[in-house]
Symmetry: C2
Subunit: 333 residues, 2 copies
Amino acid sequence: MPELRRDPIVGRWVIIATERARRPQDVSRVREAPRGGLCPFCPGQEDKTPPEVYVSGRPPSAAANGPGWKVRVVPNRYPALMIEGDLDREPVGIYDRMNGVGAHEVVIESPDHAAELAGLPETEIAEVLFAFKARILDLRNDLRFRYILLFKNKGANAGATLEHPHSQLIALPVTPRQVAEEIEGARGHFAHRERCIFCDIVLQERKDRSRLVFENEEFVVFAPFAPRSPFETWIVPKRHESNFEAEPKERLGLCAAALRSTLKRLAVALGDPAYNFIIHSNPLRDPPSPSYHWHIEVMPALTHVAGFEWGSGFHINPVPPEEAAEFLRLVAT
Amino acid sequence: MPELRRDPIVGRWVIIATERARRPQDVSRVREAPRGGLCPFCPGQEDKTPPEVYVSGRPPSAAANGPGWKVRVVPNRYPALMIEGDLDREPVGIYDRMNGVGAHEVVIESPDHAAELAGLPETEIAEVLFAFKARILDLRNDLRFRYILLFKNKGANAGATLEHPHSQLIALPVTPRQVAEEIEGARGHFAHRERCIFCDIVLQERKDRSRLVFENEEFVVFAPFAPRSPFETWIVPKRHESNFEAEPKERLGLCAAALRSTLKRLAVALGDPAYNFIIHSNPLRDPPSPSYHWHIEVMPALTHVAGFEWGSGFHINPVPPEEAAEFLRLVAT
């Protein structure tokens, strides 16, 4: 059973895997890889994954766990957390631990092994976002869970090991500290000004335009004022909304357009870089918030800056966001 | 002039380089590399670096910036921050910025290009720690500076580009948020219990022993209870002390022994991995603290886990610290 452990100084929770099959020195080979040359995410290989928990595109008459789907969500075969069990939160001397209870799912974004999310038509990217929403709405019924992390690792440098286009979902019994800090910071701004700080940022970025990359009726894409890494890019809804899963279909369609434009621009500008994106949304058990505002943060993995920087929390970014944004604006998509 | 910019939501400061020599898409080539095959850190090449600000081992009669040294500290030729100028802290709409004023220095750890810090004799590692201390004591006289980050990037995967053994120092006009959080967390523990949390951790680790790697009279080396990455290892003084630079020579000698043992064990156990270490110490303008406790955090760069994890602050560690510690204990050094 994996464990969740809390750092007693700063309160950060980490997942510690406890399976003992590997020797400690084999850590660089921990991630799953296709065996025997067959991709477990390809149509026809549906029996190579655990049974699907969500599917779109397959006619209702067709059998489950067969081909014919557009988006398919399955439990991760090598999950970081286990869906069964009680939390059993307990002290270990001055430390805290609990069982690694949670969900770890894979969102297979397309049946096409060679596709890239950025290259899919807008409607198909929207189908992926609909899948994200459906999974949140289902998993939030499990009262053990407090937060759902939705993210994509694309490319080996960003932590991906399977090529087939996919993103991931981790449902957690705790709220990650970085999310909690963001919520706390936004609450502080609201306490002083009775305005959402993300709404203020959206206003300033749309007025200033120097960091703006793209916008449509509902979403704005920009390089943040203080980016941690080159070409960090945020996708933020213009209208205030704290919860990703509260967005109606039409607005998720416009989100898909913004996401597609962002990923395409990054792919063209930077030569198809590895990247991560993370959906930041309100915790599951909190009421809709006037101060917090969901958004997507996209981080290309361009350099090895992450070494000392992620250990110290102090970042040196060699590319000013104004230059990055200008460069991304000029890309033909 | 580089800039320091503050994220308005979580209050994180980042350094934004603003030199315009490079095109944004060239970010992966931003770091310095030896040109013409000659290493600028080697003896005889002293004129390839800015003039030294500290040196040890060269007889007092010998000329500055010539060979004969054991440890040599020079300003970084491509500094992330500039030593000259005023901070000019100012708002940019809802954002904050200031001039990127600070010091960025390179600590050349040995004249031997092919040496590794882990392979140097204890006395020579101690010379490196004496250099760290001397530079802090000098730079803290500059009242613009609030924090000094001392760190080492070893190997390309950890962000190093020059082979010659060296570490780095960055003096900052702000305290990095992660440091501030650590200090705040330790202060919270002290407020409740009137004990330093690091002292409590040292006690528990020495009693428990399952995560212990090494100890001598003054220092204890262990895998932390909630490590962010495989084989994360901390070196903590047993006696309470908030400031690295307050340590006397003898204790720095024992710190060198602990650091050497740690780096050697990691090198043997993991096949000479890339790694980072960071010295965590009390901010320059704070009085000596009863609640904070300086220490060194060592992070081998083994996997690409840093992708999504460093963006979300949520870490999945496939190696339990008890297994990592056991493995490191058994290594012959």
